[in-house]
Symmetry: C2
Subunit: 128 residues, 2 copies
């Protein structure tokens, strides 16, 4: 694969439920996490669910960081999508885990990009 | 696992490069895709990279849909994160594939939620 990005899909359990329902604090945590990862924050958007839970999406110059929270289960789904060599999403994720007080983290790392056979054809096209 | 959401991480290649660089059109496509999937659009944010490529993130009541595009490679990374029984992200993804003119699609489906052993403890806690 010609890898263009990396997606960390993280399931955080045992989190602090009050933090998971605090939209302003979560926005702050996720923007800081992006900076800690070495990324540049572009903008963000968020949404509060009824009766509880929030979504926060932070657009970074290197893709995005997002969360959807379920305070009733002390659970947050965190996605950290980055591209480029200068960003380390694991550093940002570590900070999020700490700030949310998660006691368990399961991370699935997914390489994103162009399958090798297609990338090879593109290269040939580019050089023809 | 106590599943709370589903993430489709899709790599689309062979796309129409002009569409991949058209921020307004992509916003429209992704909002429509959310509706086709049975989701409710809450808001969206986007960003244009220099010299090319865009990010579009659409917040839906059932989580999010996002893309980051590389027109120079005819490539788009599409994430479709949904929760609830009434949403079918594959229907929305099919529409995106069609509108972007992708000739190859690779989808990784990831169940998001709470590991079984932790979910069991939560259930006991709830009933005690």
């Amino acid at each position: 694969m010609k890898q263009l990005g990396t997606l960390l899909a993280a399931d955080l359990t045992g989190c602090n439920a009050a933090v998971l329902d605090d939209l302003d604090k979560l926005e702050e945590i996720f923007k800081t996490a992006a900076v800690i990862a070495g990324a540049t924050v572009v903008n963000s958007t968020s949404f509060r669910y009824a009766p509880q839970g929030v979504s926060v999406m932070v657009v970074i110059s290197e893709s995005h960081v997002s969360t959807h929270t379920w305070p009733e289960y002390d659970y947050a789904a965190v996605d950290f999508f980055t591209c480029g060599e200068s960003v380390d999403p694991y550093k940002g994720l570590d900070y999020i885990v700490q700030e949310l007080g998660a006691t368990n983290v399961q991370v699935t790392e997914i390489a994103r990009g162009i399958p090798s056979d297609i990338a090879e054809k593109l290269a040939h096209k580019g050089s023809s």
